[in-house]
Symmetry: C3
Subunit: 353 residues, 3 copies
């Protein structure tokens, strides 16, 4: 693949300083870029590395370009946000080398005659599309995926192999769902009667906005009566569990293994580190950031960074600190006792002196 | 859908007070019920809301009905346990509107001639049923599910799309297994030889009782030699991991992301909050309740509620408390030192006075 | 199945003491072995149990055999490492009774003409193999598995039902991948622009060594640009998440529900207890052992056992200790205050006496 720099800026913008016909074959970070690559400088601490780079062109801010001066010899693409530009350029390079997928329905797919599949969509081998389902323009539904009755898949959405998208669920345009994700299984709802559990039917849907990405083996349960809602631009990593009737606010991102219990309402622009957990029925404000491995057990009305995990130590040190944690009540009582005794001593001493 | 109240009580019991021919279209909680709904009062604190409800009929106890008096204008269905009745009524409404599934084997399914599939069962597209497997009466096996050699699926059991049910495993009547669940993969068993791991074959089964529900992407490993056992009425949410040779007691319920290591024996009527973890070879008594995010590292011989997770705080506060937790040994030593000093001071003071 | 002891030692080595033509039907641990079984003594504390065993033969060390003396009546197989020998013997017994799988491609499989599948391989129902993929000699690819474009599967590797192995990924010889595992989904990489997330294409691969086992519903993401690497002999249990660009060192073993964030570099011969978590971009030395439920938030340059989880208590006790943990800063201040006061008292006392 050979792309001229002028093609890149024609497509993505930015001011090109240097030879517009210089050809490049791809994009790479500073530590991997060779003379056929475009690279980028988004972290000011890497300026020295950028100066020494052999990259054919460098994506960077006007300010960083001036600071670099003549140290860097290649072409420059001046932009406001180099990292975002890099992401878009990488997407564009990837799209140039992607193999075209031929629209149509694979011979082994089982598409119900009462489903509506756009002629521009690609339906892979062993896919099932049930009656009433709608698959939009230019969708790609890979091998073995399942689309349930009356489900709706927006234009340009991509289901990788082995996705389960259950009856009546909806996903908007440009979604990406990774392998093994299960959208719309029953929520966990039971009534207890003398110790035994009676199932409460889960008749709500999962409704997902546009530009949402859902990781491999992630599960999002359908609502009990109302819907589970994933707003626009949400990004979920792998192995995440979202309980029934949750709402995840727009542009919130969650790393792998996060769990959100039922009916939690999570704000916009939040981030969750890996394996963070949220109890049910809580409300979390916009712009809240939860650290990895932290358990959220109360609502959080205020933006900020929150953390709660036991600090790692050698096993011997942990044994000691954990034993004391178990008995912190005793320690506090001893402290109180001492305070009293010392107060008495102090009073006596003052009287004497 | 229009159902008369007399049909509901004919099917589910309860004493109807009001017009038996009043028609309703479904069931809804107090905050969502309109004049075409049946609703229910199971939480006494919602009595005022019930009084103001427009619901066509209210499921409630005789006692709550008397307290409501004439405040509530609709019909009443008097029962002992309103929430359990609601669950059954919701099931019944759902069954009335469910689309009938036509028994038979889909043309794309691969059912071995040496498997026994009941004529009343539904086998969906792309399903595999291996030799010797048995699929009971009225089972529904949805798209892409896999049933291994000699496995047994009890009557009226429902596998949603993409279930894996491995060789020789057994599930009883009325089971529900959600998409992506893997029942009967090998347990994690190895012998170490000079640092390398030698696999120990896992030749036990998973044996599951009646009325068990298993969540999406949950995994239950087969036993090493003996079986892994899930007793009657157990309810497992999504993304749960049950190790080899565990036994989960009847009617125990586990929320999402719980992990149970191998050979743990868990009692009946227990509950586990989300992401709770149980180490291997432990024994947990009946009626034990483990809070979300808690790690069970010792056996629990006594019923009760148990908890263990680090309390969430702002990141700055956590940094401070975690640093002290790391050094609790030092803090305790300082406390001891003080106690000694104060004891000496105290003794001197007493002598002096 | 009847196997003579001489056949066992001919295949696996060890010195047989006793009747070489004694027939056995399988292998069992001490607490389950009957007179038709071979058993083993690997834990010296079980010597009394071994002495009383009816097993036809006992695998044990020469030293333990001498200590047993004439107490145990059966045959003996003297070896250096009884537990490793047991594992191999169990494998051998299992292989004797395994049903032969007929090589070939099932009629319902969708194998691209441009894929190369060894004639000795077994391709099950509903499998997809895309163009350019290579499936080695004697591989078994079970029902519904997916092998992406240009992926490479080494000889004698077994994919259980419903494995996803994405484009360009590589796994070496004798691998075992369990149901629902997803190898090579996109890593979680985004650039943030004014709060919204822009996807960074994930163009690296997952490269897996020989003798690797990967558990059910485990996910291993492909690298962003460079590869994610799983070295030889690694064993991963179920429900594990490995982020993009990680490297897992040879013979490291991880129990269920472990999560490793992107770009973490983990040494050889490490072990991770269930639900342990590792933050991104950390480096962990060889021979590091992380306890279950522990969060690794810094690099670990030194071998050893590390732990960090909040100790379980009754809920009432936890409420108390957690409240103190939240206020440890206050407790430390009170301690400092006391120390100062007592120091003054002490000084005064010394002056007076």
């Amino acid at each position: 693949m050979a792309i001229q720099l002028r093609q890149l800026v024609a497509h993505l913008g930015g001011d090109l300083v240097g030879d517009p016909e210089r050809e490049v074959s791809g994009i790479a970070p500073l530590d991997a870029a060779g003379s056929a690559h475009v690279s980028f400088l988004s972290n000011p601490r890497l300026r020295a590395q950028a100066a020494a780079s052999e990259a054919a062109a460098m994506i960077l801010t006007r300010e960083d370009s001036e600071r670099l001066g003549s140290q860097y010899a290649g072409a420059r693409i001046l932009v406001d946000r180099p990292y975002a530009y890099f992401a878009r350029a990488a997407q564009w390079f990837a799209s140039q080398s992607a193999l075209p997928r031929t629209p149509g329905i694979h011979a082994t797919a089982a598409v119900d005659p009462a489903a509506r599949v756009a002629a521009s969509a690609v339906i892979g081998p062993h896919v099932t599309v049930e009656a009433g389902a709608v698959v939009g323009e230019r969708c790609v539904i890979d091998s073995g995926s399942f689309i349930g009755r009356d489900a709706v898949v927006g234009d340009d959405t991509h289901f990788h192999a082995h996705v389960c998208f259950h009856a009546a669920c909806v996903i908007g345009e440009r979604g990406i769902v990774h392998s093994g994700a299960v959208i719309g299984a029953d929520g966990f709802g039971f009534a207890n009667e003398d110790g035994a559990w009676i199932k409460i039917p889960q008749t709500g849907r999962v409704v997902i906005g546009v530009d949402v990405e859902i990781g491999a083996n992630t599960t999002i349960d359908r609502g009990a009566l109302a819907d589970t809602v994933i707003e626009d631009g949400v990004k979920l990593d792998n192995q995440i569990q979202i309980g029934h009737n949750c709402r995840i606010g727009a542009h919130t991102a969650m790393a792998g293994c996060v769990g959100v219990a039922g009916s939690a309402i999570i704000g916009k622009y939040c981030t969750f580190g890996g394996a963070a957990m949220v109890l049910g029925h809580l409300t979390i404000a916009d712009h809240v950031h939860i650290s990895s491995g932290s358990m959220v057990s109360r609502s959080i009305p205020q933006a900020g960074q929150y953390t709660g995990f036991y600090p790692l130590a050698t096993n011997a040190e942990w044994e000691k600190s954990a034993a004391i944690v178990r008995n912190l009540g005793t320690m506090r009582s001893r402290l109180r006792e001492l305070e009293k005794t010392v107060a008495v001593l102090n009073a006596q001493n003052k009287k004497e002196n």
